[in-house]
């Protein structure tokens, strides 16, 4: 993905100069290493801050919800699928977005890297296949494949499914990926162990709702956890309330989640809540043959009734 930056700047500059769009949503360098932040360029001069590397894991579809102006967005595979979902759910019109597609080779996991080196990380640079991490005492070289976010190493849709223009040629998709090995392991547990597993998984949660805020699917004007009349779920740290929040949030993403990993990336305590969304993704895949955000012409699995929908659980 080295070299995408120049191309992105060129495309963004052109779009803004020709007034094709009013704004370009992309990434700029963050104030800390491995923390790129979203950037909204509205003038041709502002595109110089735009950039691209393996730290652009935030899902930019999140910034398109209910936009009125014409927006160009830099979209990786998962972003593009969420844009499709947005269009299907009438959150933005197709002719309002100009999609600049980015073939993606995965984003790196800042938590993994922080755990693999000692001391504060001062600088992270990359080539096509390697990541160089510089701390005060040492420089460490990693293969990119060993420090990928889990969702990226499991990704089977790296190329944008929808685009108006591409930044580079499509990359090769990964095949032979077992996306659900960890989910199957949980499914095989005894009920009591399952309960304990999720108690342990969710116990660090501080209810900051960063996972919800980072998620492009969570655009309700008032989220069920914020509502006070009626109050659906307690707002404290009670394990039952924490569990209710995480499971219900996952359910709201059923058949819509593209496993972009924004929730896990945003979590300050490193909870892998993608286990929940991926279980639902797995169910959708197995029972309805549905994958979210792949086409503009197909209605989502939970949106249609078919006579052969599985109903064996209803007695």
């Amino acid at each position: 993905m080295v070299g995408y930056t120049e191309k992105i700047k060129e495309i963004a500059g052109r779009l803004l100069k020709e007034c094709t769009v009013d704004m370009v949503v992309g990434f700029r360098k963050g104030t800390m290493p491995m923390m790129n932040e979203p950037c909204f360029a509205t003038t041709p001069e502002a595109v110089d801050t735009l950039m691209w590397d393996s730290n652009c894991g935030i899902n930019l579809a999140n910034y398109l919800t209910n936009r009125k102006e014409k927006v160009a967005v830099i979209a990786k595979g998962c972003d593009s699928r969420n844009i499709v979902t947005h269009i299907i759910e009438n959150k933005i019109k197709r002719d309002q977005v100009y999609i600049v597609g980015v073939p993606c080779t995965g984003m790196i996991d800042k938590r993994k890297i922080t755990g693999m080196v000692a001391g504060e990380i001062l600088e992270v640079s990359e080539t096509e296949n390697t990541i160089k991490v510089k701390t005060a005492d040492a420089e460490t070289l990693f293969e990119k494949t060993e420090v990928l976010q889990q969702n990226c190493s499991l990704c089977i849709h790296r190329n944008p499914v929808i685009h108006d223009e591409m930044v580079a040629d499509m990359v090769q998709e990964q095949t032979d990926v077992d996306r659900y090995a960890d989910i199957r392991k949980i499914e095989e547990m005894e009920p009591e162990d399952k309960w304990q597993f999720f108690d342990d998984l969710l116990s660090p949660c501080i209810r900051c709702y960063a996972c919800r805020n980072a998620c492009p699917l969570c655009y309700c004007p008032t989220c069920f956890v914020d509502e006070a009349k009626p109050q659906w779920v307690g707002k404290g740290q009670d394990p039952m309330d924490v569990r209710t929040f995480h499971f219900l949030r996952a359910y709201h993403c059923a058949g819509r989640c593209t496993d972009c990993g924004a929730c896990e990336r945003a979590c300050p305590v490193g909870i892998n809540m993608r286990l929940l969304t991926r279980k639902l993704e797995k169910d959708c895949q197995e029972q309805f043959g549905w994958e979210a955000g792949m086409s503009l012409d197909q209605r989502p699995a939970l949106d249609v009734y078919q006579a052969n929908d599985p109903g064996a659980f209803i007695k």
Binding site: I186, E187, P191, E192, D193, K194, W195, Q196, F197, F198, G234, D238, M240, D241, R243, F247, L276, K279, F313, I314, K315
Partner: protein, 52 residues
């Protein structure tokens, strides 16, 4: 729910018309039996807030 650790026999789904009284009775019997067999659910309990 099953993934979360709720026993499969604790949650039942059924579609019963208002004209199907026999089916209703049978389903209720079956559900009660199955739930009784696995015993009380101790998970969905929230302690009331303790006052210091």
């Amino acid at each position: 729910m099953e993934l979360m650790g709720v026993e499969p026999d604790r949650l039942h789904f059924s579609w019963i018309s208002s004209a199907e009284s026999t089916k209703f009775v049978n389903v209720v019997k079956e559900v009660t039996e199955k739930v009784k067999a696995i015993g009380p659910n101790n998970h969905f309990i929230k302690d009331t807030a303790k006052v210091a």
